[in-house]
Subunit: 393 residues, 2 copies
């Protein structure tokens, strides 16, 4: 196990009707003038924004609003938010939505106290020194942004998708009411579940040895997702299944299941180019990419993949041919994703094989290699896209 620091100071308030505590939580965490940042009209139509406003009113907290966050959140709205916050003297950002809204909120939070262009933090030109505090009311179990210090933003001009990470933007509190996720369409629910599982697998496949505790914690989250996801696809109003998925999604991404070990994250990087180019859902892109990545790399440590197959997917171990077991696990993962309504190849995702050279070009490693479980060259990444393009059950 490697040395690590783990710091997750977010106050999680979980359960039915917890959005009514938004006002008292903003107050407790030092906010007095709030920007409510949200996405489309559904937060208004569902009555959620109304309840949040009522809660802020009750706590005597004033607020301004900025809606319009889209999936794969854009830099353009972030600039607008930064300007608005400065003009209104905002001291707290309350994010009402999913990962895109939270990531957009975090970007605004970083930009407000910074003299330069907030994009500096996303392209590695600067390290953040300060940020406005952020709180969240989560509406979809997926990105884990409600419990992380990460944010991913897409540059409108050119579609560049880049991320940044700092403890400064870990939410002060996150309100998790599983009821809010019951109205999600099955496709979005499945995309979220795929994202959660991918967050765990990115940590699971590692070259660090002797990490039993985090292996087991990773497996715990995955076993939960495998049990609970089909239940919410079958019955969107199953509160308990929604609740298990929501907490699993948060645990998956606070990094408590991934400390002390090298992590991979190449599937996320490879997927980002798909959602940037086709504006597809991140989870759907991951469903296509991650099993393909697994098929490309599994021989690097077939026993680790066999461990996943037996412990997570319930495969019988073939002790004479561990690679057979390893492949069987990957196959079951793809079948599972298909069973919850996810695409499994380029055609089902709406991606085009002929774009592969452009995707690889945009990934932008030139003649170098990525880090992670297996260090990938541009040609390796092209091959993963090709496997993903043609995948079948």
């Amino acid at each position: 196990m490697e040395n690590f620091q783990f710091y997750s100071p977010t106050e999680f308030v979980f359960g039915r009707d917890t959005e009514d505590k938004a006002g008292e939580l903003v107050k407790k965490h030092g906010g007095s003038k709030v920007l409510i940042h949200y996405g489309g009209g559904s937060a208004e139509r569902s009555g959620l924004l109304g309840r949040v406003r009522a809660s802020l009113d009750k706590a005597g907290i004033s607020y301004t609003e900025l809606g319009g966050v889209k999936p794969n959140p854009r830099d353009t709205l972030v600039y607008e938010g930064i300007e608005l916050c400065r003009k209104e003297g905002i001291d707290f950002i309350l994010s009402v939505g999913g990962g895109s809204t939270i990531d957009s909120s975090k970007a605004i939070a970083l930009g407000v106290p910074y003299d330069g262009d907030f994009w500096d933090f996303y392209c590695g030109r600067a390290v953040a020194k300060a940020a406005l505090p952020v709180g969240t009311v989560l509406t979809i179990a997926a990105a884990g942004s409600e419990g992380s210090g990460d944010s991913v933003i897409t540059k409108e001009d050119g579609g560049l998708k880049r991320g940044t990470g700092t403890d400064l933007i870990r939410p002060r509190f996150s309100i998790l009411d599983p009821q809010l996720t019951c109205t999600l369409p099955a496709y979005q629910t499945a995309c979220g579940a795929t994202d959660i599982m991918a967050h765990v697998f990115e940590r699971y496949f590692t070259n660090t040895t002797e990490v039993e505790v985090t292996d087991r914690l990773c497996e715990a989250v995955l076993l939960t997702m495998i049990k609970e996801t089909p239940r919410v696809i079958a019955d969107p109003n199953n509160y308990d299944a929604r609740a298990n998925i929501m907490w699993a999604g948060t645990v998956a991404h606070t990094n408590i299941v991934g400390v002390g070990r090298e992590q991979d994250w190449n599937s996320h990087g490879i997927e980002h180019e798909l959602s940037a180019l086709y504006d597809c859902a991140h989870g759907a892109g991951l469903a296509v990419i991650m099993p393909a990545w697994m098929e490309f790399v599994y021989k690097h440590n077939a026993l680790r993949f066999a461990q996943a197959a037996t412990r997570i997917w319930g495969c019988q171990m073939d002790f004479e041919h561990p690679e057979v077991t390893a492949l069987e696990g990957i196959k079951r993962f793809r079948s599972f994703l298909h069973s919850i309504g996810m695409p499994i190849n380029f055609a089902e995702l709406g991606a085009r094989e002929k774009d592969i050279p452009a995707l690889v070009e945009k990934f932008g490693i030139g003649g170098g290699r990525t880090g992670g479980f297996v260090h990938l060259s541009a040609e390796d990444i092209a091959e993963i896209y090709r496997i993903a393009a043609k995948a079948e059950l």
Copy 2:
């Protein structure tokens, strides 16, 4: 799943030589005048105290010291610590030791800013409003106090052992260096491992339904302990096994594996009377009590015990007779405890069956019942002591 709040703001700094960061961490978390609180001479002899002092010196932080914390930490030393802190104008308590030292530190932290008797918080006469900040350098994986808001203190006069819990005493940081635990005798290591497993089982046996995610997380910690504990008993210097146990112990008690569900804690309560009367190690007492408690209550939900038996202990499920599987799991737990050197009955612990009426009397529920998985009467508790007294493999 039930509604819950989860808040664990402790900064965990984990790995080799992390004790050298004590000074910078105290500074980061606002301390300038520190009480170093510790136990016996081993922290001095091992050179740990010297390294901590050097780290504080380097950060320009002044300090006073108070040693002498004993297992089952006493109120008398807490009073001494409170007086010393007030006299010296201490603004931060740095706890160097195990659960007893941390619990004593937390009690001092609560007592300093309080006008009345600190014991008020432990016997339920008052609710704490403030506390000095606490940081820890952990020397044994066991109590989980390094990541919890709990503290248990024993009243010297009469041996009353009582606990309190508040977010105010969650450590600001905890330094976890597995190397520091390599010098522990096997018996203490095993006591610590038993305590960690007990913390999980107290959460695992619940009447709350639909808690798959926390069930799986509990099982993850237990499976880790079952793999790693025999390795450190066989080879005390196995760093990786020590590291897995140390992080498992912290995760077990931040409550991330226990949120959203009713918990039990009767085994802890029943054990506390043993360690208060005989001054035995808490973990050793738990090794005797917890399997006995399980045998007394398992019929209340035999399928939950069968789940534990199959998922944790690898038993084959007897679908015609789930109670047989349930009992087999309990038997394997006791055998496991015995295999790591723990006592399994009163004789091995040094307890006396004839004291049972006195133990029950001191437990102090009179004609009432406890809460938890099964609500126990005084007679039930007596029966659990009797089962524990006579237990065999």
